[in-house]
């Protein structure tokens, strides 16, 4: 069960409130009718399925209903960051996989369990 930071609500919430909506950063071609069948098929049907870092679109379905981007690791299930749709994120300074606390670093600020 993921704990996901909604970049619109600015809160961490349980995975129950969210739905995954597939690969992120896919843009609908501006002029679909000018595309070849192959090009169109690539847009409609072909998706990445990497082991490791991946960008996904999620929606806060039982919350603000906003779609946003999640940078996460499909192997370790770490979430590196979440950011609004329309934004991009360079993970150049992303913590190395396995580095202690990499998930928490992104969520400590307003951790729901924080007693302070």
């Amino acid at each position: 069960m993921f704990l996901i930071y909604c970049p619109y609500c600015c809160e961490h919430r349980e995975e129950d409130e969210f739905h995954a909506a597939g690969q992120a950063h896919l843009s609908r071609p501006l002029d679909p009718d000018s595309l070849s069948d192959d090009e169109w098929a690539k847009y409609v049907y072909f998706r990445k399925n990497p082991r490791g870092e991946h960008r996904e679109l999620w929606v806060h379905a039982a919350g603000c209903r906003k779609f946003f981007n999640v940078a996460r690791n499909t192997q370790t299930y770490e979430i590196y960051a979440t950011y609004k749709s329309g934004e991009t994120l360079d993970l150049g300074d992303k913590p190395e996989i396995g580095a202690s606390g990499s998930v928490l670093n992104l969520r400590k600020a307003d951790a729901p369990w924080s007693s302070s």
């Binding site: 847009y43 749709s85 928490l104 369990w113």
Partner: protein
């Protein structure tokens, strides 16, 4: 019945003093029909041992007598069916985990007619040696048709307990927690971690599976600060309890460790009191923890050594003997032989000797043990035989002797003669296996440590620490210092750095860090005969997996430990191989000539120990299992005898039977009343989305296939929605409420998906558009009046002009209906004159009743979804999801009229439906079917063929999507998708049914009624 005194006297193995039991609180219980007594503080297992019970079960495959082997959750043998009544039966409870309560009734899950005289035991003796690994695969595979017969016999003979046949009388619930630090296990390491984290200011939750905190200290011979260790435990518990930011849980097993530090704890709240919960209490509670940091202080399980007949009652794990003596004041035998590969095994002999009973010998597998405990054993006069092993236990119903022989340095073969020692208990220790299970649940693989001869937790991406026995820590001192550090680190990572002045000191222990394992790597003890010829050497007691069986498995070619596990069932029992797995892996490694590190371990998954289904379900049962949605008129439907069908979560009236009517009679009456007069349908469940904004109209044009640019205020239009692949996804009527304001309707089941669909396109593709969506499905009650008399009915309730000129087909008007503000849409899903009246939901029932008051003389007839389906099919209206299946374009449905290719924007679905494959004209297309015999019933889903005489397999050309009896047309009608169907009107297709019957039908238009659409436009 025996009296209390006689029962008390039965406890031959109970010590006169000591232990953490309350002798002032005697408890009676019943085991396998026999009345016995124990004390408060006992487990069922300790009470059984106190009463001298040797045989507590029969083995799964061979029916061999089995006794209690351990004192904890790792127990493979003592598995009980508990419960005094039918409704409170619980199967597969480990006697070592079950606290004793007054009136407890239990019996072993295996053994018939009783464990002492077991019939399977005879089979086992005759056929047992034939039951090799893979026995079931090899024996019962042929002939395949007989499997069901075999299975019945095997299940009956095998059974592990049974479920109650009556409903559970108890309640269960869930609870959520958010804490800075969650500590798993309350032994020395866990308590120290909790204390240091709490002193740093972190909120802490500490949970332990046992009835009281202390872990190994509950039976430890160690001292802390010069006093008994439980005094220290009490001080720790007192301080933690006094801290409001600390939650302490006993009888609470952390069973799952999930991503992002999410843990599940199953708490048994009343299982120690009675077999049913007290008033007002829940019996089990599932806690869901989200923790900043996690400290695993789960300890370790001692491994037995594997020798011949090691499953005889009286064969035990060494530390559990100490556990029974020191915690429960129960000594499980008279004469003890200990076999150990490490220093740890000596303590059990010392504890045994102190009770005054005889220690025959300690058999140490090592040539030169030199630890402080071995010295102490020598000083106490215990006979120590070094460089030797117990190769075999003798005895029938209980151990009567141990066969001892010297071994070579490597422990792989015998180097001298055997010697028989008379004894009734053999305690063995092969070292400790850290309880790494939870550390593996999030995908982290454990790592083999040669130092401690066990797997320890591997790297993780979680904010997780471990301390004590789980890391291979042996001494109390090590556990305390590791716990302190882990607690501080865990709190620090959660934002609570060490607070000055509240530092935690590590208390002094008697033996300090001196205790060391110094274990010899030995798992399977050699025998004078080869493994396959020696008496059985059990690795996994619960599943009767032997060393010979594992060796055979590797000879048969299985190399992966995961395959060996599945072929032999090693570790498959309710104990999940907590005592046997490492020994099994060691045997696999040895027979493959690999190291244990290379062989690796199987994957540990949740749950750590069995969890009741009731705890998992919590309160989510019966009506709370899944939400149900009701229309505002639901009460009326109930009062009028409606039969309901579930549509998603909605409960929709299916039909309204009158008196003794059958369903067929009711829907015929409903159809005819609606076609000839007026009927009313509750359509409140249709999805309704309010769309506003200056780009609302353009947005509709992009998501619908047809044109919206010119739809005037006050008008409605049918819209078809496709995916990017060009396939029909949903349909419905949308109304123009204002220049920048529309109301979209969707199918009942598609409402949530369509809203999400609009939102994702708006937010991710066209955020510049000024448009807003709001689900208003529940805001409106919708009643559809249909039939030639519907105008007359509506006229009685409203003042607006209903003439065809003033209020035409596909218009909508604001109106007051029965005094209630309403939107009336003149749209039709029946093909007849029809109005859809929408009123605010809380007026729904009132408006509905007003319709019936006004409709009395018109014989207004309520109809349900079944009649709705028939009436729409008569007119050829599709139902998305029934007549379509995600592979149909609008053209396949002959709905080309609903596609506007002239729109400037390339609407969703346009490019997709123009792929070459979608442009073929011979695709499966929606058509009507008229059976040659007008009353022949085509089952929905029937496959169509063009030539019924073609040999099987025939060429299938489509299937039936909808099939009904039309009362108005007095014949059966059907819709189907047929290859090239649109161009084959008038041709015949055939439907061979599984019964052998072949139904002949003619392809026709799906519009069976009023092809000119005159009826709806009157």
């Amino acid at each position: 019945m025996m009296n209390q005194h006689q029962l008390r006297a039965q406890q031959d193995n109970r010590l006169a003093s000591g232990g953490r039991i309350n002798r002032k609180k005697p408890l009676t219980f019943n085991f396998d029909g026999r009345s016995m007594m124990g004390y408060a503080g006992d487990t069922l297992a300790s009470a059984l041992l106190a009463n001298g019970v040797d045989i507590v079960g029969r083995s799964f495959k061979y029916g061999r007598a089995r006794g209690i082997m351990t004192a904890g959750v790792e127990e493979p043998n003592a598995i009980m069916q508990i419960g005094s009544t039918e409704s409170t039966q619980i199967p597969n409870i480990k006697a070592t985990e079950q606290s004793l309560y007054n009136g407890l009734v239990c019996k072993p899950v295996n053994g018939w007619p009783s464990v002492d005289n077991d019939i399977m035991g005879l089979f086992g003796k005759l056929g047992g040696s034939l039951m090799s690994p893979g026995f079931y695969y090899k024996t019962f595979m042929w002939p395949k048709s007989q499997w069901e017969t075999y299975e019945k016999f095997i299940r009956k003979a095998a059974g592990l307990g049974r479920s109650p046949t009556l409903p559970d009388p108890d309640r269960y619930d869930h609870m959520n927690h958010h804490v800075d630090v969650c500590v798993v296990g309350a032994g020395p390491a866990g308590l120290m971690a909790a204390l240091s984290a709490a002193r740093n200011g972190a909120s802490v939750l500490i949970a332990d599976e046992q009835s009281e905190f202390g872990g190994s200290l509950l039976f430890s011979a160690e001292t802390i600060d010069g006093k008994a260790p439980m005094e220290w435990v009490q001080r720790m518990v007192d301080e933690l309890k006094a801290n409001p930011a600390v939650i302490l849980m006993t009888r609470a097993t952390v069973n799952g460790y999930h991503d992002h530090n999410f843990l599940t704890i199953s708490e048994r709240r009343t299982d120690h009191i009675a077999d049913t919960a007290l008033d007002g209490m829940t019996r089990h509670r599932m806690h869901k923890i989200r923790a900043g940091s996690v400290v695993l202080a789960t300890g370790a399980h001692e491994r037995p050594l594997i020798y011949a007949n090691n499953d005889l009652p009286g064969c035990m794990v060494a530390s559990s003997v100490s556990h029974y003596i020191r915690r429960y004041a129960v000594i499980p035998g008279q004469k003890l032989v200990v076999m150990t590969s490490n220093d740890g095994g000596y303590q059990c002999a010392i504890d045994w000797l102190e009770t005054g009973r005889e220690v025959v010998a300690i058999v140490d597998t090592r040539k030169n043990p030199d630890g402080s405990v071995s010295e102490k054993a020598g000083q106490l006069g215990i006979k120590v035989i070094t460089g030797s092993v117990v190769i075999e236990a003798k005895g029938r119903r209980r151990v009567s002797g141990a066969v001892v022989a010297p071994i070579n340095d490597g422990g792989s073969f015998l180097v001298g003669d055997t010697q028989l020692f008379e004894c009734d208990t053999i305690a063995s220790s092969g070292g400790w296996s850290p309880a790494v299970h939870l550390s593996c649940h999030t995908g982290s693989r454990p790592v083999w440590s040669e130092d401690i001869l066990g797997f320890v937790p591997g790297n993780t991406t979680e904010q997780r620490w471990s301390a004590g026995g789980i890391n291979g820590g042996q001494s109390v001192a090590t556990c305390l210092s590791e716990g302190l550090k882990a607690g501080q680190d865990a709190a620090g990572a959660a934002g609570f750095d060490q607070t000055p002045g509240v530092a935690v000191d590590i208390p002094a222990t008697a033996s300090g860090n001196d205790v060391h394992c110094d274990a010899m790597p030995i798992y399977l003890v050699p025998h004078s005969k080869t493994c396959s010829r020696a008496p059985k050497q059990f690795v996994d007691m619960q599943n009767d997996v032997t060393a010979a069986g594992i060796e055979m498995t590797t000879r048969e070619g299985f190399e992966s430990i995961e395959h060996v596990k599945r072929y032999t069932a090693l570790g498959f029992g309710t104990d999940q191989g907590k005592t046997g797995n490492i020994n099994g892996m060691a045997i696999v490694a040895k027979s493959l000539g690999k190291s244990i590190a290379e062989t690796g371990t199987t994957v540990f998954r949740p749950n750590y120990t069995p969890v009741s289904f009731a705890a998992v379900a919590g309160a989510h049962t019966d009506l709370l299992f899944d939400p149900q949605r009701f229309s505002p008129m639901h009460k009326w439907h109930l009062d009028h005898g409606a039969e309901f069908e579930n549509v998603g979560q909605w409960m929709r009236p299916w039909y309204f039977p009158k008196g003794e009517e059958t369903m067929a009679e009711a829907i015929e009456r409903e159809q005819l009343a609606t076609r000839n007069g007026v009927g009313v349908l509750d359509a409140s469940t249709l999805g309704k989305i309010d769309i506003q904004g200056k780009d609302a109209r353009e947005f509709l044009g992009r998501v619908y296939t047809n044109a919206w640019a010119k739809l005037a205020v006050g008008r409605c239009r049918y819209g078809l929605m496709c995916g990017e692949d060009g396939m029909v996804m949903d349909d419905g009527v949308s109304a123009c409420l204002g220049e920048n304001h529309f109301l979209m309707t969707t199918t009942t089941g598609g409402a949530a998906h369509v809203l999400s669909w609009l939102e994702i396109y708006h937010q991710t593709e066209w955020p510049e558009m000024d448009v807003y969506f709001n689900s208003v499905t529940d805001h409106w009650a919708t009643m559809t009046i249909a039939g030639p008399d519907s105008r007359n009915l509506l006229a009685k309730l409203t003042d607006i002009d209903l003439s065809a000129e003033a209020f035409g087909f596909m218009d909508w008007r604001e109106a007051t209906v029965a005094g209630i503000p309403a939107r009336v849409f003149r749209i039709s899903f029946t093909g007849d004159l029809s109005y859809e009246i929408n009123v605010p939901a809380h007026y729904g029932l009132r408006a509905w009743e007003a319709l019936f008051e006004a409709g009395k003389e018109l014989n207004l007839t309520p109809y349900g979804t079944e009649t709705m389906h028939v009436l729409r099919a008569e007119k050829g209206f599709i139902i998305v999801g029934q007549d379509t299946d995600g592979s149909m374009t609008p053209y396949d449905l002959d709905h080309g009229w609903a596609v506007s290719n002239n729109k400037p924007f390339s609407f969703i679905g346009k490019r997709g439906m123009n792929r070459p494959d979608c442009l073929r004209t011979d695709r499966k297309q929606l058509v009507g079917l008229k059976t040659t015999d007008p009353m022949a019933q085509l089952p929905e889903g029937s496959q169509a063929v063009r030539d019924p005489n073609e040999p099987i397999p025939m060429t299938m050309v489509g299937h039936v999507t909808s099939s009904y009896y039309s009362a108005y047309l007095k014949r059966r009608i059907a819709m189907a998708v047929i290859l090239d169907g649109l161009q084959r009107q008038g041709e015949k297709v055939y439907f061979p049914l599984s019964s052998g019957e072949v139904i002949e039908a003619k392809i026709c238009s799906p519009v069976f009624l009023d092809a000119e659409s005159k009826r709806q436009k009157v």
